[in-house]
């Protein structure tokens, strides 16, 4: 989302309330300065004689360089890319540094894009790019000044080089560690001099990740691996109906299970505490629980869609208007309308939800892998009634986040369990509980209308109906009836369209809790816009690449990506069938998370309607690239995440309960279905864009459009409907 759009969406009162709102490279930036650690305010336990120029860097006299990670590692490689940015400006090599997760401290480590400590929205590098460069450069300047003082020379003739200061005229060198004790009293520069881009030694290199060696040999500690002396293990069951409660619990059979210690019955869920997870699970299975289903026991998917479709008939709040869309659409001629629908989705992180807690008389300690460590601390304080400083929260590695670990519902439950347990307890969700008590990607309905004239789009209306996650999770992001995430990549549709109107209808689904899911708002909007544009191209009798290209004059970075992907993907050439099915190639383009991406997918659809994705080619301009290998990895993985959703992803509700429970009925793409994937990075000097979610938003429309090319069937819903593709069911489309 761009600065102008953010500015347009925030109301003036709120704009003043949020100090210093500015948008840089597509992120909402709250006022940010390099936080310095004042005396007596230690962010981490540290021995004396440390050089702590700011909240991100610690150096000691033994030569240890510790970098404090404000953003959390969930597989996206951010520990390495953030370390690279700091190390670049500090002028140390990556093998000289250690990384450490930041403790909860909003003052020191808030994400400038949110104003809170959070890792999400693919903005770690965008938000921290300048603050961390300045933090590194500031520390470098202090070290240079310390050396110059020691040598009694002009600091201007000294420079830094891989952990040493060099006096250029004489070639004298001194290691940073020998300067640590001499930095006292040197004021940091007001505006530290940043390196020029062509002087980068680390940024732009495909450096090895810092977190992966311990992930090959079992040494890495994820939240679920937490072990403490005298720790108990617990597992939980919540009422299967959303919003329901625990009625009566017959504990008898559970308490005789070998290893079971305790059954904890709370209003909304039950926990069994035992000597190990297996005993806890056996104990839970042995409980006889009568649930009180409450008011949602009749809710089902059909009702959710009935309400959503009804809401989508209302006029939405106008999030963006250019020209006169109503007039342009009502002038007759080639008017075209289509609705696109997206299902509820679960996150299904490989590491099931878990949290380890010890509640003591006057303190509480929490060990968890989370995208929001300060919220983890806050919820534990809230539940226990302790002041926040009495809650110690440790952030551990995450076995995937995808937005699930932006929530703290599991931490709240774990603390409530720990309040009843003597000593530390690790609460682990079974996969079934994890899937059935997720906070789901909302259903969305996108109504699109357009009119074509002389092969060009002259009028466009896009009405998005869905839950506002922002209103609950980050209220400043919900303004004047508009959720800035839900309309992201819709209000900034990349095409040149003279008359357009983007509307948002907030509609909360009955009973089902909704949250962020990898790809967030663009997930829904890129799918709808790019599916619709493909249908418009067909209506205009044009090639899908040529049709898009003709509307991209004002977005040259995207046009360049489209040209590149068209040439690399053999666009226009036939695809031989490998499995006797119908083949096709589909394209999508997107500007999302400040990255410019064009994607071509190839599919083969067999007579049973089964779809194989055989190849994906993607071109990305994401500005300056910190670690190109990480960009490629994120694109590969993000695409597979998106293909999984498009082929299989759907959570359905019956009698107020989620019907799926584990990987047999909530399917994931596997090795044998994985396509050949080629990623092309476009060299760029622009500010860095986001990457973590972009592949996920790219795959579904490219794949859907490839099916359209292969079969002529315009799918309007995800996941793909194999009955429609096999001709067993009529298509919803009327093309």
């Amino acid at each position: 989302m761009n600065a102008e759009v953010i500015d347009q969406l925030l109301d003036p009162a709120r704009r003043t309330a949020i100090k210093g709102v500015a948008a840089v490279s597509g992120v909402l930036l709250f006022g940010f300065h390099i936080p310095t650690v004042r005396a007596g305010q230690k962010a981490t336990g540290s021995p004396p004689l440390q050089f702590e120029p700011n909240a991100f860097i610690r150096m000691d006299q033994l030569g240890t360089v510790k970098l404090i990670m404000p953003q959390t590692e969930m597989g996206q490689g951010v520990y390495t890319s953030i370390a690279m940015i700091l190390a670049e400006e500090l002028d140390v090599s990556l093998d000289q540094v250690q990384v450490e997760a930041a403790p909860p401290n909003e003052k020191l480590y808030a994400n400038p894009a949110f104003g809170i400590q959070a890792t999400g929205n693919s903005n770690s590098i965008r938000a921290f790019w300048m603050p961390l460069r300045k933090a590194g450069a500031s520390a470098r300047a202090i070290l240079i000044a310390a050396a110059a003082k020691k040598w009694n020379v002009d600091p201007a003739v000294c420079q830094a080089d891989r952990g040493e200061v060099v006096h250029a005229p004489t070639g004298r060198r001194i290691a940073y560690r020998l300067l640590v004790g001499s930095t006292g009293g040197i004021a940091p520069p007001r505006e530290p001099a940043l390196k020029s881009v062509d002087a980068f030694k680390l940024i732009g290199q495909p450096l090895k990740r810092l977190d992966t060696p311990d992930k090959t040999n079992g040494k890495a500690t994820y939240g679920i691996d937490m072990m403490l002396p005298n720790m108990k293990f617990a597992t939980v069951a919540a009422c299967p109906v959303f919003g329901g409660a625990v009625g009566t619990v017959d504990q008898g059979a559970a308490l005789i299970v070998f290893g079971v210690r305790q059954v904890i019955v709370l209003d909304d869920f039950v926990a069994v505490v035992a000597d190990n997870m297996w005993a806890a699970k056996e104990g839970l299975d042995a409980l006889r629980i009568a649930w009180q289903p409450g008011p949602n026991a009749k809710i089902d998917t059909r009702e959710v869609w009935r309400q959503t479709r009804a809401a989508s008939e209302r006029d939405g709040v106008v999030a963006k208007a250019v020209g006169n869309a109503s007039q342009a659409l009502s002038q007759g001629g080639d008017r075209f309308d289509a609705d696109y629908e997206l299902p509820f989705l679960a996150h299904a992180t490989m590491e099931p939800l878990n949290c380890t807690v010890e509640v003591k008389q006057d303190s509480c300690e929490v060990w968890v892998g989370t995208q929001v460590i300060s919220r983890a601390q806050a919820i534990a304080a809230q539940v226990t009634g302790l002041p926040r400083e009495k809650v110690i929260a440790h952030n551990l590695l995450m076995g995937g986040g995808f937005g699930r670990r932006l929530e703290v519902d599991h931490i709240e439950k774990a603390v409530r369990v720990a309040q009843k347990v003597n000593g530390p307890v690790k609460v682990v969700w079974t996969r079934e509980e994890d899937i059935q008590h997720d906070i789901y990607r909302p259903v969305y309905l996108d109504k699109l209308s357009a009119r074509l004239k002389d092969g060009k789009i002259v009028g466009w209306r896009h009405r998005i109906t869905g839950s506002s996650v922002m209103a609950r999770w980050f209220p400043p992001g919900f303004q004047k009836g508009i959720d800035i995430d839900a309309v992201d990549s819709a209000i900034d549709v990349p095409y040149d369209i003279p008359n357009l109107q983007i509307e948002y209808v907030r509609n909360e689904p009955p009973a089902v809790p909704t949250g962020f899911w990898r790809g967030v708002g663009p997930n829904n909007n890129v799918f709808a816009v790019e599916s619709f544009v493909d249908e418009l191209a067909k209506k205009a009798g044009q090639d899908p690449v040529a049709f898009r290209r003709a509307h991209l004059d004002k977005t040259p970075r995207l046009k360049a990506a489209l040209d590149l992907v068209a040439s690399k993907s053999d666009w226009g050439k036939p695809i031989p069938a490998r499995f006797g099915g119908r083949t096709g190639r589909g394209v999508e383009v997107q500007v999302a998370f400040a990255s410019y991406i064009a994607t071509v997918a190839e599919v083969e659809v067999d007579k049973n309607g089964e779809v194989r994705v055989t190849r994906v080619v993607l071109a990305i301009d994401t500005g300056i690239v910190v670690n190109p290998d990480t960009v490629i990895a994120q694109m590969q993985g993000g695409l597979i995440f998106g293909i999984t959703a498009a082929l299989y992803g759907e959570i359905t509700i019956e009698n107020g309960r989620v019907q799926q429970s584990n990987f047999h009925d909530y399917r994931m793409l596997r090795m044998d279905q994985t396509p050949d994937i080629q990623i092309h990075i476009i060299k760029s000097a622009e500010s860095p864009g986001g990457i973590g979610e972009t592949g996920t938003t790219a795959a579904p429309p490219a794949l859907r459009n490839a099916i359209f090319a292969a079969t002529g069937i315009a799918l309007r819903r995800l996941p793909i409907d194999r009955d429609v593709l096999a001709g067993r069911k009529p298509s919803l489309a009327h093309t």
Partner: protein, 152 residues
Amino acid sequence: MVTLKINGQESSVEAPEQMPLLWVLRDLIGLTGTKFGCGIGQCGACTVHLDGNPVRSCLLPVGAVGNRAITTVEGVGATPAGAKIQKAWLDLEVIQCGYCQSGQIMSATALLNATPQPTDADINAAMSGNICRCGTYVRIREAIKHASKAQP
């Protein structure tokens, strides 16, 4: 009391016979490298070797192990194929979140032991029981081929 041979060392633990090996390893012995993913043998995160053959430890009762040698991700690097796979995983920077990778490495090592020069079809057959939510499959395939070419 059950006596197990894990990564070349004997361990005796107090565990009911029907307790899955996964929880014996993780919760009783403290070898947390082997992961819990689904509990129903669908995802492969809990894969370990019994006498070199890959098994899903979440479904395997500890009483059924007998005297077969258990190898986990903590010990697989001591075998030639395991070391090659671990190195290939780093050479090609396969890993993202890493949670499923213990199981992927165990499955890939077993594949390489059984089939030193695996084809794509062999890789599909051996690896399709291991889910990776981060989507590292492209690199897993490349890394297995890379490891198959590596000298011991």
